[in-house]
C-alpha cells in the first residue's frame, strides 16, 4: 500500500482535501440561514423546563425525525450562543466535513491499496453536486454529521479487522450507536459492515451482523414514535419498478449532476452520453477488479446501494442531497479506477482521464451553481430578516406588511415564521405579493400571512400597519406611497381571530387576543367577505370550557346576514364545524356572521362571561 513518505508529503496529503473543500464550497462557507433553519432556531424559544428541553431534544418532529445532535442540539446551542450569526454554525459544519475527509481518505486507501486513490476520492466527493446543500444549508447538517459517524464507524471496523484489538470494536459500537442521534440513515451501518465482511473478510460476517438488532430495534422504536405517512410526498412506495426507478434516478444524480442540469448550454444528449460513459467505466472497472479477486470494488457499489436504500421508497420526495453519502462508495471506486488506469498504457491512461474529466465536467459546475444559488438566497434572507429587525426596532407597536415578496423570499424565509425570532407575533404580505407567490399546498399556506386589501387599507389609515418594500437589499418604508395607490378593498375570506389587524371586523363584544384565539361572550359577530362562488361553506374552529360542558352539550347558533345557517351541538372542548352558505350570499363584498352560544361560564376572579373561543373562521 503506497503512502506519503515525508512529513511534508503527509501534511499535504491530509490537509489538501479540506483546503480543496473550502475552495470549492467557499459560497457554502459564507451562506446564511434559510427555510427550515428558522424553525429549528426557534425551538429554543419554547423551552422553560427540563421536560420542555427533553421534548425539544428527543421527541419526533418534522416528518417524525429524531436527530438530537445534528438538528436539535446544533441549532439550540448555536442560537443560544451566537444568535443569527451564521459563521459559528458554518465552522461547525465545515469542521465536521473536514473530519469526515480523514476516514474517507483512509478507508479509500485501505480499500484500493492506493494512497493516491484515497486522496482523489475525497476530491471527487467534494466536487459532487450533491454536496453543496449539506454544506451550504444548516438544516442539512444532519447529512454531514451522519457522514462523520458512518465513515468513522467503518474506519474503526476496518482497524479492528486489521489489528484484532477489541478497543476498535467497542469504539466502533459507540460511534455506531451515537450516529443515530445524527440521522436515521445510520440504520444501514450494520449492513455496510456486513457487506464488507462478506466480500472481503468472511470470517467477520456474523460478527458484523451482530449490530443488526440495534438497527432493527431503532427501526421499530422510530416506527412506533413516528408512524409512516400514508399519503403525500413522504408516502412510501415499495413496488420493484418504483424502487429501481428511484435508484436509477439517484445513480444518474451521483455520476452526473443533480437534477441532470448541465451548464454551458450543453445539449441533453451529451449529458446522457457522459453519464453512460462514467457508468460504463465504473461498471467495467468493478468487473475487472472482481475477476482479479479484488472484492472491495463490489463493496464500493454495495456502499452506494445500501446507503441510498432507505430513501428509495420515497419516490415522490427525491432530494438533491440524498446522494451525498451514498456517492462516497462511487468516489472510492472511481478514484481507484483512475489511479489504476494511470498506471496502465497510454490508451488506458487516456480512458481513465477522460472518464474523470467527464465526471468533473458534469458535477463541478452544477455544484458551484447550486452553492451560488443557495448563497444568494441566504443573502436575501439575511437582508430581509435584519431589515425586519430594524423596522421592528423603529416601529415596535405597528404591524409590518411586506410588499414585493416573491416565491423565494416567502418559501425560504417568511413561511417558517422568522418573525418569532425577532419577537414579532405577526408578519404580513400584501395581496399584490401573494398573487405572485407560487402555491405549494403541501408545505404551507400563503393565506396564513396574507392581509386582505380592505383590512390593510383600514390599518394604514389609522397607523396600525406599515408597508415595507422588500425588493431591494435595504427594506424601504413605502406606507404612504402604497396607501396612495389604488388597491382592492376586499375583505378576507379567512379570519384569524388572533390577528390584531382584523380587530375592526369584530363586533365590540369580543375580548382581547389570547395567544392564538379570542373569547366572545354569549353573542358576537364578525364581518367578512361573502363567498365568491356557490357551493362554499363557513368553517369555524373553536373551543368551550369544561365547565360549560358539565351540564351537557352547548349549542352554537350561526346566522349570516340574518339567514340562519343552523345550530350545532358541542360536546367536546375543541370543535370544528361547517355550515353551507346559501347562494344568495354569493358575490356580496361583505357579510356579517352572527354567533350565539347557549351557555356561558364566569371564571372565578374574572369579570368576563365566556361563551366560545375561536381561532379561525374561513369561507372555502
Amino acid at each position: 500500500m503506497s503512502r506519503p513518505r515525508s512529513p511534508v508529503g503527509a501534511a499535504a496529503y491530509w490537509l489538501s482535501p479540506p483546503l480543496v473543500c473550502l475552495a470549492l464550497h467557499w459560497h457554502d462557507f459564507h451562506a446564511w440561514f434559510r427555510a427550515d433553519d428558522f424553525a429549528w432556531l426557534g425551538l429554543t424559544n419554547g423551552i422553560s423546563s427540563w421536560r420542555a428541553l427533553f421534548s425539544a431534544l428527543f421527541l419526533p418532529l418534522a416528518e417524525g425525525t429524531i436527530r438530537p445532535w445534528s438538528e436539535r442540539a446544533f441549532f439550540m446551542a448555536g442560537y443560544s450562543l451566537f444568535g443569527l450569526d451564521a459563521l459559528p454554525y458554518r465552522i461547525v459544519i465545515f469542521a465536521t466535513q473536514f473530519a469526515s475527509l480523514i476516514p474517507m481518505a483512509w478507508i479509500g486507501r485501505r480499500l484500493t491499496g492506493s494512497a493516491a486513490a484515497g486522496w482523489l476520492a475525497t476530491l471527487f466527493w467534494m466536487a459532487n453536486s450533491s454536496t453543496s446543500i449539506p454544506l451550504g444549508w444548516a438544516s442539512a447538517y444532519n447529512q454531514v454529521q451522519c457522514g462523520l459517524f458512518l465513515l468513522a464507524a467503518f474506519a474503526l471496523f476496518l482497524r479492528y479487522l486489521e489489528t484484532g484489538r477489541r478497543g476498535y470494536w467497542i469504539a466502533q459500537w459507540v460511534v455506531f450507536v451515537l450516529g443515530f442521534g445524527a440521522l436515521e440513515l445510520m440504520i444501514v451501518y450494520p449492513a455496510v459492515a456486513a457487506a464488507y465482511a462478506l466480500l472481503c473478510a468472511p470470517r467477520y460476517f456474523r460478527r458484523a451482523l451482530a449490530m443488526a438488532p440495534v438497527s432493527v430495534a431503532y427501526f421499530l422504536i422510530h416506527r412506533w414514535a413516528a408512524p409512516p405517512i400514508a399519503s403525500g410526498d413522504y408516502a412510501m412506495h415499495f413496488s420493484p419498478a418504483s424502487l429501481l426507478g428511484t435508484l436509477f434516478q439517484y445513480w444518474t444524480w451521483s455520476v452526473g449532476p443533480v437534477y441532470l442540469r448541465l451548464s454551458y448550454g450543453t445539449p441533453a444528449w451529451l449529458l446522457e452520453a457522459l453519464i453512460a460513459l462514467v457508468s460504463i467505466a465504473l461498471a467495467a472497472f468493478a468487473v475487472n477488479r472482481w475477476r482479479a479477486g479484488h472484492r472491495a470494488a463490489a463493496f464500493c457499489l454495495a456502499w452506494f446501494v445500501l446507503v441510498i436504500a432507505p430513501v428509495l421508497p420515497l419516490r415522490d420526495h427525491v432530494t438533491e442531497y440524498y446522494p451525498y453519502l451514498p456517492v462516497v462508495g462511487l468516489c472510492w471506486l472511481g478514484s481507484w479506477a483512475v489511479v489504476n488506469a494511470w498506471r496502465g498504457k497510454l490508451a488506458l491512461k487516456s480512458a481513465g482521464c477522460a472518464a474523470a474529466a467527464a465526471y468533473l465536467f458534469m458535477v463541478a459546475p452544477q455544484m458551484r451553481a447550486s452553492s451560488g444559488w443557495n448563497y444568494r438566497l441566504t443573502v436575501r434572507a439575511r437582508n430581509l430578516v435584519e431589515g425586519l429587525a430594524g423596522a421592528h426596532q423603529l416601529h415596535p407597536g405597528q404591524q409590518l406588511v411586506l410588499d414585493g415578496v416573491d416565491s423565494d423570499l416567502f418559501w425560504h424565509v417568511i413561511r417558517d415564521h422568522v418573525s418569532y425570532l425577532l419577537g414579532m407575533q405577526h408578519l404580513y404580505i400584501t395581496p399584490e405579493s401573494a398573487a405572485h407567490i407560487e402555491v405549494h399546498r403541501d408545505i404551507g399556506d400563503v393565506g396564513e400571512f396574507l392581509v386582505s386589501g380592505g383590512v390593510l387599507a383600514e390599518n394604514l389609515a389609522d397607523g396600525g400597519a406599515l408597508v415595507y418594500d422588500v425588493r431591494n437589499p435595504r427594506l424601504r418604508n413605502i406606507t404612504m406611497l402604497y396607501a396612495s395607490q389604488p388597491h382592492s378593498r376586499d375583505l378576507p375570506l379567512r379570519i384569524d381571530l388572533s390577528d390584531p389587524l382584523i380587530a375592526k371586523l369584530l363586533s365590540p363584544d369580543w375580548y382581547p387576543i389570547e395567544v392564538d384565539h379570542r373569547w366572545m361572550p354569549a353573542r358576537a359577530s364578525v364581518t367578512m367577505s361573502g363567498p365568491p362562488k356557490s357551493g362554499m361553506a363557513l368553517y369555524l374552529n373553536g373551543s368551550v370550557t369544561s365547565q360549560q360542558l358539565a351540564a351537557g352539550p352547548v349549542t352554537l347558533k350561526v346566522a349570516v346576514e340574518g339567514v340562519d345557517l343552523g345550530i350545532v351541538s358541542i360536546g367536546a372542548n375543541d370543535f370544528e364545524c361547517r355550515f353551507s352558505l346559501p347562494d344568495s350570499l354569493v358575490g356580496k363584498p361583505q357579510v356579517i356572521v352572527d354567533l350565539s352560544v347557549s351557555r356561558i361560564y364566569h371564571p372565578p376572579g374574572d369579570c368576563r362571561e365566556l361563551g366560545t373561543s375561536f381561532g379561525l373562521m374561513a369561507i372555502r
Binding site: 423546563s49 439550540m76 444568535g83 451548464s263 431589515g387 425577532l422 435595504r474 395607490q485 389604488p486
Partner: protein
C-alpha cells in the same frame, strides 16, 4: 419541576454540553440578530412623473414586472409590467402624454419574430403597437383627462409574447425598458 428562566442557563451549562442551548430564554432578543437600517419614508422623494429605470430610489413606483437594474441604466421587463406615475399638474383638465422608452432586443425578435405592446391607464386601454424589428422605440400615447382622476396614475403594460425562462435564467423576459414618463399636454 418548572425552572425559572433566569436560572435555567447556568444549570444546563453545568449539566449538558449543549448547555448554552438553553441560555437564550435569559438573553435579550435584540442580541440575537444584527439590525439593518431601513429606508424610511422621509428619505424617499415624492411620487415622480418620470421614472428613469436607473433611479433605484423610484423603484417603489415600479409596481410589478420590472427586474433589477442592469448596466446601471436599464431593466428587463416581464410579459406584464406596471408602473405608478404622478399626474402632471394640468392632467386632470388637459390630459397628459405617456412616453415609454424601451428597446426590443435582437434575441427577442429572432425568437418571437414580433411583439405587440398593449397598455392601459387605470384599466382603460390605449392603442397597441406591434414591433417586428429590434431596436430602440418610444411608445407614445395621449391620455385623455377623463382617465386621470387622482394624484397618481397606474399604467399597466402587457406584451403578447415574452421569452420564456431559459438556461440558468428563471426570468420571463419581455423588452428592455429605459424610462417611462407622463408629461403635460
Amino acid at each position: 419541576m418548572r425552572l425559572s428562566i433566569s436560572i435555567l442557563p447556568r444549570r444546563l451549562t453545568v449539566v449538558l454540553v449543549l448547555a448554552a442551548a438553553l441560555a437564550s430564554p435569559g438573553c435579550k432578543r435584540d442580541q440575537k440578530v444584527q439590525v439593518q437600517p431601513t429606508v424610511e419614508e422621509e428619505d424617499v422623494p415624492r411620487l415622480a412623473s418620470a421614472v428613469p429605470m436607473n433611479n433605484a430610489k423610484l423603484e417603489p413606483q415600479l409596481v410589478s414586472g420590472f427586474y433589477s437594474i442592469e448596466n446601471g441604466s436599464w431593466r428587463w421587463t416581464a410579459k406584464q409590467f406596471s408602473v405608478l406615475l404622478r399626474s402632471p399638474a394640468t392632467a386632470a383638465q388637459r390630459g397628459a402624454v405617456l412616453s415609454f422608452e424601451f428597446s426590443v432586443p435582437d434575441p427577442v425578435i429572432r425568437k418571437l419574430h414580433a411583439v405587440t405592446l398593449k397598455a392601459s391607464v387605470e384599466g382603460k386601454p390605449l392603442t397597441p403597437e406591434t414591433y417586428t424589428k429590434s431596436g430602440p422605440y418610444t411608445f407614445k400615447r395621449d391620455i385623455p383627462a377623463s382617465s386621470i382622476a387622482g394624484e397618481s396614475v397606474r399604467i399597466d403594460f402587457a406584451l403578447d409574447k415574452a421569452m420564456p425562462p431559459a438556461g440558468g435564467d428563471r426570468r420571463e423576459l419581455g423588452v428592455v425598458a429605459s424610462s417611462v414618463a407622463l408629461s403635460p399636454k
